[in-house]
Every structure is written in structure tokens, then in C-alpha cells.
């Protein structure tokens, strides 16, 4: 009895001493979607400084990037993500439903449906817009080569798909017409990459395609990275409000003992400092101050939400992207 009490006392003292003096850097793994690579390089540095100032502890955030659907699949298969920062709620729902490593009401845990920023879908075209692309209608014309990733693996591609669908539905009045519109659009796509960044590379570096349906942030980044190529951004008349959400993967974080720092990591995304970084990387900040500061860099666009047009991600995923959904019906027939 006595020895065990002494031992536990020693352990407690050691733990305290450890906390006070030689804190080991804590490690987080952030599994994210494709275009956020540059954003999180900056944000991770900012968060590390913030966390160090607040707690004295060093934090190292490791990153993994890929198509959002593919990344979700990896987390389901056991990739030890402390936090997931994916392209759409449906992918985190898939993790919650299939691997049960976080509760199904995860989206209520942080403000704005757990989306620290929003974005939308725009078109990136070549210098001088030689094919005269102005709106979604121009993408289904014969002879226009369109670049978009594969909706099965990429989150961005699913936003693209739904934006095109809703545009056609509003214009022509029926789901059948919308399906035909999307079928024509996909017939103009020469390559379906697995993630948004792969598609950017196809369009920007391999010079394939006349128009790239892209995340707004990805389009601005490509424009900035390749000033010599003279890319132009075309904002369609209607697009979708994309809300890329973030979540702590409870089971993994608990096991690694990182719940506190992982939660702080996501909460800090809503701070003014982070919101400014977010705006700098061409995402649309949710804080009023940062949103106002960066408002002028984005084109005016009418946005609709997935909830009002498609009844939320679970339904949209089932109707359109699961096996046998509209994408399969269109694409497999091709």
C-alpha cells in the first residue's frame, strides 16, 4: 500500500515537473482536402505561435491533403487524424457514420455549421477568354473542353456538379432537364482527376481544357501563381455557397490525449488573426471584419445553399453521388 502511494506521488510530481519544464511538443494530424495546402501552412504557424504564447507548449501540426472523399475514406480506414478539415459536411458525415469516431451531431459543435469560412465555385479561363465563357450555358456547348475533378473522390467536384445542376434546374424547370444539362457538361470533360489540385495542374500546367470549374480560392491562387499565363476568372450568374467544415475526431484525439489542443486548433480558425489569413488565401471569411476587408477581391455572385436546393448533404450525396446516383447514371452510360 505504502509503496504504491509513494509511487503515485512520484508520478504526480514527475507529471507536474514535466508540465512545467520540459514540455514535449504535441503533435496533431490535420487531414484536409486538396486546395487548402497553402492556407494551412500559414495557419499552422499562426496557431503554433498562439498556442505557445497561451500554454508554453510547442505544437507541430502535420498535414495530409487529397481529394476530400478520398481523405474521408482514409480516415475511415484508420488514418489517425486528430482533426479533419474537409470540403463538405457529407464527407465528415461519412466518417461519423462508417467509422463512428465522432458523434453524428458534430456539425453543431462550432459556429456556422462548423465552417470557419465559405467559398464558392467559379470558372477559370485562358487569357482573353477565347471561347467567350460567361455562364454555365457556355460549358455545355460542343467543342468547349471543361476541366473538373471526379465527384466520387473530390469534394470540390461535388459542389461543381450540384451548382451546374441547380442552375439548369432553375432555368429549365425540371430535374430531368438538369440531368441532361449535366450529362452534356460531363461529355465535355476530357479528364476527371481525383482532387481539385490535380485538376488545377491539368488545366494550368498541362494546358488541357478551355475552362476549369474550380473552387474560387483555387482559381485565384492559380491566377496569382502564374501571372504570365494571364488566366481570367469568370463568375457565373448563379453558384453554390460552399461551406467546408472542420471537426475534431474525438476517438483519435482522446486516444492520443490531444482533445484540448485539437479543439483549440479548430476554435482558433474563427479568431480575427486566422480569418485574416483565410481571406488572404482567397477563402471567404465568416468574421464581419475580415469579410469586409477582403470583400472587394471577389466577384459578385448570387449564391444558393445546399440545404435550400438539395435538402442537405445526406440527401444530395444519396441522390447524386452514391452508387447508382445520378452521376453513375450519367457517367456509366457514357
Amino acid at each position: 500500500m505504502k509503496t504504491s502511494r509513494i509511487l503515485s506521488l512520484i508520478a504526480a510530481v514527475a507529471a507536474l515537473a514535466g508540465a512545467a519544464f520540459a514540455q514535449k511538443p504535441v503533435e496533431l494530424l490535420n487531414v484536409s482536402y486538396d486546395p487548402t495546402r497553402e492556407l494551412y501552412v500559414d495557419y499552422n504557424a499562426a496557431f503554433a505561435a498562439h498556442w505557445k504564447a497561451k500554454t508554453g507548449q510547442d505544437v507541430v501540426v502535420k498535414q495530409s491533403h487529397g481529394g476530400s472523399g478520398k481523405q474521408a475514406r482514409s480516415v475511415i480506414d484508420g488514418l489517425r487524424a486528430d482533426v479533419v478539415t474537409l470540403a463538405l459536411a457529407g464527407d465528415i458525415d461519412a466518417i461519423a457514420n462508417n467509422a463512428r469516431v465522432l458523434p453524428s451531431d458534430w456539425q453543431k459543435r462550432l459556429p456556422n455549421n462548423s465552417s470557419p469560412y465559405t467559398s464558392t465555385i467559379v470558372f477559370l479561363v485562358r487569357q482573353g477568354n477565347p471561347k467567350g465563357i460567361k455562364d454555365w450555358d457556355d460549358l455545355v456547348k460542343p467543342g468547349v473542353s471543361v476541366i473538373t475533378p471526379n465527384p466520387k473522390t473530390s469534394g470540390g467536384a461535388r459542389w461543381n456538379y450540384l451548382a451546374a445542376w441547380e442552375y439548369a434546374k432553375r432555368k429549365q424547370g425540371s430535374d430531368e432537364a438538369a440531368k441532361e444539362f449535366v450529362r452534356k457538361l460531363l461529355a465535355n470533360v476530357p479528364v476527371l482527376d481525383t482532387g481539385a489540385r490535380g485538376s488545377t495542374t491539368t488545366f494550368v500546367q498541362r494546358d488541357i481544357g478551355d475552362v476549369f470549374i474550380s473552387w474560387e480560392n483555387e482559381a485565384y491562387l492559380a491566377k496569382k501563381e502564374f501571372p504570365g499565363k494571364g488566366f481570367e476568372i469568370v463568375t457565373p450568374s448563379l453558384s453554390i455557397l460552399a461551406e467546408p467544415p472542420v471537426a475534431v475526431v474525438d476517438r483519435v484525439a482522446k486516444r492520443k490525449g490531444t482533445v484540448e489542443v485539437a479543439t483549440a486548433y479548430l476554435e482558433y480558425l474563427y479568431s480575427e488573426e486566422a480569418q485574416d489569413i483565410i481571406g488572404k488565401h482567397f477563402y471567404r471569411p465568416t468574421s464581419k471584419k475580415a469579410a469586409a476587408k477582403y470583400a472587394s477581391q471577389f466577384g459578385p455572385v448570387k449564391l444558393f445553399t445546399i440545404d435550400e436546393a438539395f435538402g442537405g448533404w445526406t440527401k444530395a450525396q444519396k441522390d447524386h453521388f452514391d452508387d447508382g446516383g445520378t452521376f453513375d447514371q450519367i457517367y456509366l452510360k457514357k
Binding site: 494530424l29 495546402r37 502535420k62 498535414q63 495530409s64 487529397g66 482514409s74 480506414d77 467509422a99
Partner: protein, 304 residues
Amino acid sequence: MASAVSSLNRSAGHAQRPLATRDSAWVRYTLTAVALGFLALFLALPLVAVFAEALRRGVGAYFAALNDPDGMHALRLTLLTAAIAVPANLVFGVAAAWAIAKFTFPGKSLLITLIDLPFAVSPVISGLIYVLLFGAQGWYGHYLAAENPWFPAFQAWLIEQDIKIIFAVPGIVLATIFVTFPFVARELIPLMQQQGNDEEYAAITLGASGWKTFWKVTLPNIKWGLFYGVILCNARAMGEFGAVSVVSGHIRGETNTLPLHVEILYNEYQFVGAFAAASILALLALVTLVLKSVVEWAHARRRA
């Protein structure tokens, strides 16, 4: 005769060789030019391009790009993976080739087919096999999550030690071993079959033990083929992309091998970095090729 031939083919030069083994000059020059042109276009040019792109912003930028901790980690992981996969396949390859070439047993043709399997399936499938076996939703994951598992102590130990297989180094090593499985065995089987069992019989008849026969008779006979197989195996182990990509999880500074790191840098518009990392891979390949040539040269000299 010789003078007649040389007068007929003065331009060709090799007067002393018999007529039937020579093609006319233009055929030989055309073929040589086509072969060299092809090599230059498809091998030398891309190789030069890798180094040219890597050095585009100067030697300073090149070394700065190489000095990236994630890149260095990727290089170490690549070398570690090869250092485990190659010896494993060396032992397996020798054992399998020995069994197949020197003995007959039931299931032999099945074994040969199985050895070829990694050549036949796409590397992506090779990676997925391990995800299905060791993923959280696979056999291993179900075992870890089971409430009444077989060998509960083993399960407790695995959980306690936090043994990760896929999305970690063991998965990368396993996938690499799988993909490079056939190289050594495939190199040795025809060689050992051709050599037959005579020398081993002689050794055993003269009283040598099995081990002694292996070390003194079999191994010296297959030495060069073995070197060659190991070199090819190593080249593939360091260069493998597809299978490793599936099981890696792409965590920077942790589970990215050099080929995966090249892709990441390229996708992040860091061209100097991407090509610098690619140039390291190319250098590793060139070292391998030089080694291979040395082996062949030494082998030819011994024969002569």
C-alpha cells in the same frame, strides 16, 4: 575473298567479317541512329530536363530546396523501406528459386504463378489489399475492435503498443515488399534451372553438408544473377509510387516517401523543390545503373 568483299563494301569498313552477317551501311547507320535518337528522346532528354528544372534558379536554390526537413525525412523513409524490403526479398527470392529450380514438388507451378502475381496486378490493387487487410474496417481493425477476440492478450498488447500498420511505416514496407517480390526470384529461377543439379550432386557425393554445398557451390554459381536481381529490386523499391500512395496516408514528414514527396511539391507549385527531389531519385537510379553495369562488366571479365 577478303579483297572482293572489301571492294564491294568499302564504305562499311569491316572487311574481314563474312558477307552474310553484314547489312548494308545505310541499314546499320539508320538503325543505330533510330536507337540512339529514341534513347535520347525518351530517356536522356527527360533526365536532363529533371536536372535542368532543378537547377533552374541556381545551385543555391537547389540545395535550399533539398534542405527541407520533410524532403529529408522522405529520403530517409525511402532508404529505410528499401533497406528492409530488399534483404527480405533477397532471402525469399533465393529460397524460392532454389526450391523451384532444384526440386520437383506438388504445387510448384502454382508457386511460380504466385511469384509472378505482383507483376500482373496493378500496384494500386497491391496497396488496396493491405488497406482491406489492415485498415480500421479490415480484418486487423475488426480484430482490434473485437470484444471477445482470439488471444485477448495479443489484442491488448497491440492496443497498448499502439501498433499501426497502414498509414504508417510498416504498411509502406509491406506494400513495397509485395511489389518487389518477383525481382530476385525471377532473375534466379532460369539461371538455376539452366545450371541443373550436377555440381550440387557432386558436392554432396564428396561429403559436403547441405549448407556447405549452398555456400561453396550454389551461391558462387548464382552470384551475378543475384546481384542483378537485388539491384533491380532496389531500384523498384525506391521508386514505387502506386502501392505506397494507397497505404501511406500522405502525412508530410511522416509517411511520405520520396516519390510521393515529388508529387506533393509539384502540386504545390514548388517546381525547384519537386525537381530537386526528383533529381535525388534520378541520382539513386543512376547509382543503381552504374552498379549494374559494374556487375555486368565484372561478370563478363570473369568469364573471358
